[in-house]
């Protein structure tokens, strides 16, 4: 009767698998409430942002008038984040999806269909942000002439800058634009809360303005000749421009791969020649090499700057993260 037992085991397994498939299928096609419907159930308005940065900016824009959530968990790199079906499910419950665009978080768009959403449910913060080129910061611009290389598409990277640096929020003026946009959009959808939203927004903008002034003063106090950094990832282009920090960048052929001896030698030369004392690391550049470069040139390697995501307190808010960045950078200027 061995066969008999085996058969019943297989039947049970088959039944279990079948029911799993059914359950999964059912979940995938759950209908989600449309924005117009949820305005009736106002208390449930949910904004879901791709990263913690945008979630916090939404907080500055909207206060406690809505529910705000994030997709990419804390501590996870946005560039290499791979969304899962669970993330699509999460999005299904959103009334507004906030993303950056410009190649930073395009994966959010690919989740829309699975989440039962459309592009109308999405607020792309950087979209059309500038028709006059004030906000276009091209990658590879400030690099040494002899290198002159554009960043090639990094392996496994979902960034795909395609020329324009998306890190607009790292300049507080850009963050202010984002805050305004978020507030405007939500107020339009929740007119009964517009007044509350506007006052929250104003408070947020005031704090951002204060931050901006604080940083401006702080950096201006540093002599221009020492106000230089080396960076590989152009996240801080806008930041540097805002506070007149000179970027002495050296292009590395393919960030994430092992840099060649010559590239490292050139980097050392550039650092020494420019008298740079701050080197910004990035996740993709081997930190061991960077440590040795720092040791050889006496520069400080800044490893924990917050660019795409927030961190632990006190850097668990946009303002906190910016202040943490600023104090680390200021301290590294010698």
């Amino acid at each position: 009767m061995r066969l008999g037992i085996k058969r019943s085991v297989w039947t049970a397994v088959g039944a279990a698998l079948a029911s799993l498939v059914l359950v999964a299928g059912c979940n995938g096609s759950a209908a989600s409430p449309s924005p117009s419907e949820s305005s009736e159930a106002a208390a449930d308005y949910t904004v879901i942002a791709t990263t913690s940065v945008f979630a916090d900016l939404a907080q500055l824009a909207l206060g406690n008038n809505v529910t705000i959530e994030t997709i990419v968990p804390a501590g996870v790199d946005v560039h290499t984040f791979e969304p899962s079906p669970a993330d699509a499910q999460k999005l299904a419950g959103a009334d507004l999806i906030v993303m950056n665009g410009l190649g930073l978080d395009e994966w959010a768009l690919s989740l829309l269909e699975a989440a039962g959403k459309s592009e109308e449910d999405v607020l792309e913060l950087a979209e059309g942000i500038d028709e006059s080129n004030a906000w276009v910061y091209l990658e590879g611009e400030e690099h040494d002439e002899e290198e002159g290389e554009e960043h090639s598409e990094e392996e496994g990277e979902e960034h795909g800058h395609g020329g324009t640096d998306p890190h607009i929020w790292l300049d507080p003026k850009g963050a202010a634009i984002y805050v305004n946009r978020i507030a405007a959009r939500v107020a339009a959808e929740l007119p009964e809360r517009a007044a509350a939203i506007e006052s929250a927004r104003d408070a947020g903008l005031a704090e951002i303005a204060a931050l901006d002034e604080e940083l401006r003063v702080g950096f201006a106090a540093i002599d221009a000749s020492t106000r230089k950094i080396v960076t590989f990832h152009d996240a801080f282009g806008y930041f540097a421009r805002a506070y007149e920090i000179e970027i002495v960048g050296v292009a590395v052929e393919a960030p994430g791969q092992e840099p060649s001896a010559k590239e490292i030698a050139a980097l050392i030369d550039a650092i020494k020649a420019a008298g740079v004392t701050s080197v910004f690391s990035e996740a993709q550049f081997p930190s061991k090499v960077l440590d040795q470069v720092a040791a050889e040139t006496g520069a400080t390697v800044l490893e924990n700057l917050y660019s795409d995501a927030l961190g632990d307190a006190p850097a668990n808010s946009y303002l906190g993260a910016m202040r943490a960045n600023a104090s680390a950078i200021l301290a590294s200027f010698k």
Partner: protein, 277 residues
Amino acid sequence: MNPIDLLLEPLAYDFFVRALVASALVGVACAVVGSFVVLKGMSFIGDAVSHAAFPGIVLAYMLGLPIILGGAVAAIGTALGIGVLTRRSGLRADSIIGVLFAGMFALGVALFSSIPNYVGDLFSFLFGDVLGISVSDMVALIVLVVALLLVIRALWKELLFATFDPLGAGAAGLPVRRLDDLLLILIAVTIVISLQAVGIVLVVAMITTPAATAQLLVKRFGQMIGVAALIGVTAAVAGLYLSYALDLASGAAIVLFETALFLVVLLVTSLRGRRTA
């Protein structure tokens, strides 16, 4: 720029000097151990053990332990496991090696994929990161390589006898099984300390190629070890300089130099053989 300048220019950089020292040491260690590996006919084992180190490295990283420690435990464990399983199972060594090789590496990949973040430091173990070697890393490397070479120097005739003729050695009273295990441990340790220089993927070349080249040139084992070591050092230095001059990845440059040298020697010796035949 004259040749002397070409040689001296990179030496102005500390990182390059350290990389030279580290690579040269790794080259010697791999070549010496590689002579025994080739004698054993288990060149495959270099590849297997280096890949087997990967899950140890990833696990150590996840647990916050020193990466080299994790790699060493996994590598040594796998090397000894190869010995035990080969003796116990009656299967040929290459089957055992193949199974463990793939299984361990797959385990490493599975663990690696469970880490949500991008981990550049782990990536460097795949291809080596000798340009990023710190002073303390280099000192540790020097100590380990010297210790390794001392052990081999002390026991090389026992290792040679046991590897060349296990039956005769056992009859003469040598502890063949323990010497076998010792050799496996030496192989594993060499591989782990070499991972920094050339990474998991290429370390097998540093173990096999110099010894294979030496085998074409000399007839005595004593000479073979010496020639292999010389090739190892030369390739390390030449490879680094090439990587500097031609903007190549350093680990790959070293291995390419060794491989090219092997092919040249093969060509020359086979031509010479034909003429005298």
